[in-house]
Subunit: 447 residues, 2 copies
């Protein structure tokens, strides 16, 4: 399916940022890059972009992007970019003869919206707008947003100052070529050059549908600096979440890692390099433990916790910049296992007592094997839990994973109770492993 | 799709085995159970079985089986079971009105043949026979087999004493109801009650197709005691192979485990119990190491190797008795990780020198983490290798897995060189892990 992106306007309320609006950077990617990559991830491979204001600069930027990512981009020039955005749509009339997606370069959205639209079916002479019915959606600037009035999935009216209304225009459309006629009609009859004008006409004819954006939707219209800053905060918050995060990750590490990510995201650093850097800090921590003094122990514990926090950044950057890869996830997991083992081995040597070595060695061993097997079984267990218990019981289970282990090590180091720390880890990890075997045994038909 | 299984004959050449032929046991399952379970695994859910000789006994047996496995079985009685098998087919005329699979209770086959047939397309008035074109196939008793002459995928002639011929009748057919008419014609015109008679008629009309059984096919017609024993050997050999087996598994362990499996398969012991038993032997081995004397060390090494051999039986029995489960494979892997760690920890304590503990502890630690991570990464690495290198380079890579590790432990214990053993494992495992990271890094787009 083709996708038409409107990127011709000046975006004057953001003009103080020194760049044409489409190529303003937000968390490591320009606005239009994010729009394209989100759609690309949903399977859209063929892009038509209407450029106008500073067309040369925008085109040059996107040409490079297109080559680098090997994504097909066609440009359409709208020299009348000072007029409203309906005209930009109309410029694509010759290029697009079938159903297509239509979106704005300055509306950031997540994949949920795209899938809602792609799954919906419209007639050959209809259009559909993705509508957010969450009237009190905190993402939305109520004053600036385009409102819609929807009845029985049909758009009745649309406009910025509409009253009453029951949803917001997310800026994402599924169109048939009937939209071009509607823009022409709006221009000729009402001298209205806006896309909303065309939608109004289609609404009156009863052929403008509303598709619910759904509860998973995230979108934001970045039309001024305030919205830009809001988008930055929200995007970072949403993209830094991961379904399998344990409680320490969720409530502590992610808050800190998101802050680091915000600084790192505009550098060229890759997620894999961050994984490796976090790994090195863990190794450093475990060597610090080997030195055998309490001061070093505290320092090592702190390093371990810092490493655990930084370990969140690789995934955050990967998700924010669309750099996630199976290899990256695999490498991160492998390095985490080595890091875990080094930390526990470092603590074992710290607690090692030459006069009575056996208890410490056994405890260190059980902490290590317990932690390792815990990670080894996590993949399948998490899959199972997600499949079976998602709605019913998910919240009852605390996932005792790496975030908790490292936090225990950190706390144990702070209070200089290394043997107890190892013992605690050994006990909870192995008990948790046995519990998981039991859970999966009881539900073995469902794995 | 429905499946018709002929199980009415007396099978007089196997009558000395004390049971009606369909329910004679071969490696833990009766012949007909194996046929049904093989088909069931290929997605066939609806069975019609023609019984005749000792129908009550066979029916009772299959009724129980049907309930236990929750598989739908319908019975068709052929009182004239002393006549040839074409008549048994004809008895199903009323029950089956559409395309169906046809097979014999005494032809054991693997899934490859079924998939070949299911993927082939036949016309509404055609039948297809799965034909083995491997003329010198060692599975086949050339004297007894039914031969076929095939030209351009059409069966030209069929018969036991056919000359010339270029393939063998595997006993597996994809039929349309035209087969019933052909049997009737064969009986009425030629007084020939055999299925071959009907196929001959269809062959003459040019509507009997031959489908190549392919290179992955395994099948055997069990019509006398010699064939029964041959089937036992071949089935055990084939089912005990596993694609991811390392060299020690392949050339040593599997030969021994297959012998154990042959004895265990007729007991009720489940694969999971065998996994657990093998795990216990490993734990015993590691405790033996802890005792710290050379005699115990040898004994422990031997136990470790025995455990590694027995660890093959769970999978073999699971495959032979269609008891494979994701939970079973998962549990086996988890227990292997614990067993590995215990063995290496046992050796570390054996080699532990209180006067100079650090080298041994470090070496033991690296052997452990190296082995852990090796298993941790194996899944994804194996998947990748299978996908990318199957034909080109697979044979260049030796998979350094658990079979090799335990063999090294066994040999190291025999010659009382425990520290060197740990050092060797630590080095090869960690180098192998780094090599794998490198390989996957270089091919990361393909993971």
């Amino acid at each position: 399916m083709k996708c038409l992106i409107l990127a011709a306007g000046k975006g004057s309320r953001l003009s103080n940022m020194g760049k044409p609006k489409p190529i303003i950077k937000l968390l490591g990617l320009s606005l239009i890059e994010r729009v394209i990559l989100t759609l690309y991830k949903c399977g859209i491979k063929d892009f038509y972009i209407v450029v106008g204001y500073k067309a040369k600069i925008v085109k040059k930027f996107l040409d490079q992007f297109s080559k680098k990512k090997n994504i097909n981009i066609n440009f359409i020039l709208n020299e009348d970019w000072e007029k409203e955005n309906g005209l930009s749509v109309l410029k694509a009339k010759k290029a697009i003869k079938e159903k297509f997606l239509l979106c704005m370069c300055d509306h950031i959205f997540n994949e949920a919206l795209v899938f809602q639209l792609l799954e919906s079916k419209i007639g050959d002479n209809e259009i559909a707008l993705c509508v957010d019915f969450r009237i009190n959606n905190p993402f939305i600037n109520k004053q600036e947003a385009t409102k819609v009035l929807v009845e029985d999935s049909n758009i009745k009216d649309i406009g910025k100052d509409l009253i009453p209304y029951n949803g917001y225009d997310t800026g994402l459309f599924l169109c048939s070529p009937v939209i071009f006629d509607a823009v022409e009609e709006s221009i000729n009859k009402f001298k209205d050059f806006s896309l909303s004008g065309a939608i109004k006409i289609l609404a009156k004819k009863g052929i403008a549908k509303a598709i619910d954006a759904g509860q998973q939707a995230f979108w934001i219209d970045i039309d001024d600096y305030k919205a830009y800053k809001k988008a930055e905060i929200l995007l970072l918050e949403i993209m830094s979440k991961k379904e399998t995060d344990g409680p320490i990750s969720k409530y502590i590490n992610r808050r800190l890692s998101a802050k680091i990510t915000k600084h790192l995201i505009n550098t060229g650093i890759t997620p894999n390099k961050i994984s490796f850097f976090s790994f090195l800090i863990s190794i450093l921590a475990s060597f610090t433990f080997l030195l055998g003094k309490y001061t070093y122990l505290i320092f090592g514990g702190l390093l371990a916790q810092i490493s655990s926090i930084i370990d969140g950044c690789d995934g955050e950057i990967a998700r924010l910049k669309f750099q996630s890869s199976k290899f990256g996830a695999w490498l991160d997991a492998i390095l985490d296992r080595y890091a875990d083992a080094f930390l526990l081995f470092g603590l074992t040597i710290y607690a090692y007592n030459p006069k009575n070595p056996i208890p410490v060695l056994f405890t260190g061993f059980f902490a290590m094997i317990g932690s390792f097997v815990n990670s080894y079984m996590a993949d399948k267990y998490d899959q199972f839990m997600q499949k079976e218990f998602k709605k019913i019981r998910d919240k009852k289970f605390i996932r005792i994973g790496r975030d908790i282990r490292v936090m225990i090590i950190f706390l144990g180091a702070l209070i200089d109770r290394v043997f107890l720390t190892l013992l605690f880890i050994a006990i909870i990890m192995n008990i948790e492993n046995i519990r998981r075997i039991k859970v999966l045994y009881q539900h073995q038909g469902h794995i």
